[in-house]
Amino acid sequence: MNTPRAAWLLAGPALAVILLFFFLPVCAALALSLTDFDLYALASLKNLRFVGLDNYLQLLRTPLFWKALANTFIFVVVGVPLSIAASLGAALLINSKLAWFKPMFRTVFFAPVVTSMVAVAVIWRYLYHTRYGVINYVLDSLGLQPLDWLGDPRFAMPAIILFAVWKNFGYNMIIFLAGLQCIPSDLYEAAELDGARRFAMLRHITLPALAPTMFMVSLLTMTGYFQLFAEPYVMTQGGPLQSTVSVLYFMYEQGFKWWNLGRATAVAFVLFVLMFGVTLLQLRFAGRGLEE
């Protein structure tokens, strides 16, 4: 059998599944976003109307949509740097020659990543309990003010950010570790001989060497964080006062609660365009950085 035919035989089934169950629905979603598909249309397709860009325009006039955008942006802008800082910090610590029990700590930091989101959200929901939660107990014993984490609109999103960072920092930590291990140790030895202190080594050797890894990690994390859904769904149902409604949560409600499929798919595409735009921006930014 010649090579191309074998290739199509081996890759064909997978490509067919991806085409049929991913690309096709995505195109259908685009088409749906141009109609006013809703409950009536669900009952009978004769109730479907083509409305062009009306869904998108209506979206721009929906205050909850803007709130969802704002909430998602807060999550990304605060959460991504926090997550990267935690991952990098953990990676640096574990990579240090002075650390003990490295494999154990690596496993311990990574454990939250493999857990089921729902199961740990249930745990954290109780950790955040105003009266019986451990977090408020710790705050109280440190002399700080305990907070109504999940009930106060000001603190619900920070609570979710903290939770998300805990759950995922292990993932990026592993990637940073791999990157750190690629840095040749003679660079550090030479710097030490020159009398450089630890911080200087960090700034002038480690971080620049990690730049490509850092870029990729921030891209991946940002893409993931834009798709915030499970945490608000399980912990706060978008509340309190809609302070934790993310774009995808808004889409889920429009789509699976109210069955406004036209609206919901429009939201999904807006999110996609947004993420695409941000990714392009980052690529251009990084491109310029690499040239320097």
């Binding site: 006013d36 409950l39 009952a43 149902q237």
Partner: protein
């Protein structure tokens, strides 16, 4: 090589387990019909017990009850409809009936109800039965009812010189004014800003409907609704109601016990709650009374849940038998004893347990004047807008004129698709 053999082993195990699963998924005994019944909340827990007797007297029918939490129920039902996997019968809030009927999801039941004398329409409270009727068809049989009326502090009223509950709006305003004079830091009535039910109940007391032209347009600019909204907003402006949401009141029963407010517009489940949560020495200070209307005892919203059969069910006859069973007055009284849910049939109310219950008496009276809100699928969205606009009105961001105009504009926008569909129907078919 080892790994390939290992994979093959995996495959065999998996194939075997999938076969077992498929076998386990098809448990059909000969001749026994298994019905899928979806119920929500506490009713879901309790109905299994009730149905044990049913299964004993109907050996050919097995009822598989699946309990759903209220928060996810509407979602799951719509999803099951969208996916063509609806159950045979289910408990449905009666305000959802119009939505599912518009989808063509429910089987019409008036023929069976007429045929079987066991479910006589005349025995049901008129407003409640009507809430299940859309056009000429009846889509649900009422299972239990719910309406809103006033729970009040009769000791505080007595202290202000009143020996009975208010019978109309005028008397009510006089009472609230008197209460406020005696205790300026407390309030007359609690009207939570995040709930639309109290305003809806008051709005339904007017004779003019809330939507006009065959439910195609909002009718909020009508003089009748303006009068209701004026009455509602005056209560806030006079300081007779606190400007709070239900969540800002940490414990509504505590606050009622402390006299923070003297009137509370709520439903039958609170009879049990008040009995449970108010201390023993405070049990004789509260009482229920029918909702006062503009010119005498007024109407209130017709709520509750019905039992419906889905159009796609292959066992409609058997499902109907379950509904018949649960509609028997004796069974409804057992249900009431287990859950506190009030029966929708007058004959059930004749029983001692309900006839002599002082708190339930007001409900018996109110149910004769229960009215349903407009029966369009979009009603819940319109009711939400009603709440949002009223909230802005109470906060002083809108005048009354602006509020009703805005409400009509939003309702008209929401009903646009309905108008288009009705126009098509009228134009396309004779």
């Amino acid at each position: 090589m080892k790994r390939v053999a290992y994979l093959r082993g995996w495959l065999a195990v998996a194939a075997a387990s999938i076969a077992v699963l498929l076998a386990a998924c098809a448990p059909s005994e000969k001749g026994v019909v298994t019905l899928r019944f979806w119920a929500m909340g506490r009713e879901g827990e309790v109905v299994r017990e009730l149905l044990a007797d049913f299964e004993r007297s109907h050996p050919g029918i097995r009822v598989d009850v699946q309990q759903l939490p209220w928060t996810a129920a509407q979602e799951k039902l719509l999803t099951s409809f969208a996916g063509d996997v609806t159950p045979d019968l289910c408990q449905l809030g009666n305000t959802w009936i119009s939505q599912f009927a518009a989808l063509g999801a429910l089987a019409p039941l008036q023929e069976r109800a007429a045929r079987f004398r066991t479910v006589p329409a005349a025995d049901y409270f008129d407003g409640i039965w009507a809430s299940n009727r859309i056009g000429n068809n009846v889509y649900g049989i009422p299972w239990y009812v719910d309406t809103r009326l006033i729970f009040y502090r009769r000791d505080l009223l007595a202290g202000a010189g009143f020996d009975h509950a208010p019978r109309d709006w005028l008397e009510w305003t006089r009472m609230m004014a008197a209460l406020k004079r005696r205790s300026p830091d407390n309030y007359g009535v609690l009207l939570p800003l995040n709930e639309f039910e109290p305003l809806l109940a008051l709005a339904l007391q007017q004779d003019t409907p809330l939507l006009r032209d065959g439910d195609r347009y909002g009718n909020f600019r009508s003089p009748a609704f303006r009068r209701t909204l004026q009455f509602y907003i005056d209560i806030f402006r006079q300081g007779w109601a606190p400007r709070v949401t239900a969540t800002q009141i940490s414990n509504v029963w505590d606050e009622f016990g402390k006299g923070y407010f003297s009137f509370y517009i709520t439903g039958p489940w609170n009879i049990g709650e008040f009995k449970r949560r108010l201390p023993a020495n405070k049990q004789d200070i509260w009482m229920t009374a029918p909702l006062p209307g503009p010119g005498g005892p007024g109407a209130s919203s017709a709520g509750g849940a019905s039992l419906v059969v889905f159009e796609h069910s292959k066992h409609k006859e058997e499902a109907w038998e379950v509904i018949e069973y649960l509609s028997q007055p004796a069974v409804q009284l057992r249900f009431y004893a287990m859950t506190g849910n009030l029966p929708p049939r007058r004959s059930a109310w004749a029983d001692d347990r309900l006839a002599h219950d002082p708190y339930a008496a007001a409900f018996r009276d109110q149910l004769e004047r229960a009215k349903s809100p407009p029966k369009v699928p979009e009603w819940e969205r319109i009711a939400t807008e009603m709440r949002l606009v009223t909230e802005a009105l109470v906060a002083g961001q809108l005048t009354l004129d602006q509020a009703v105009t805005e409400l009509d504009a939003r309702a008209d926008r929401i009903l646009e698709k309905r108008r288009w569909m009705l126009a098509r129907q009228d134009g396309g078919k004779p």
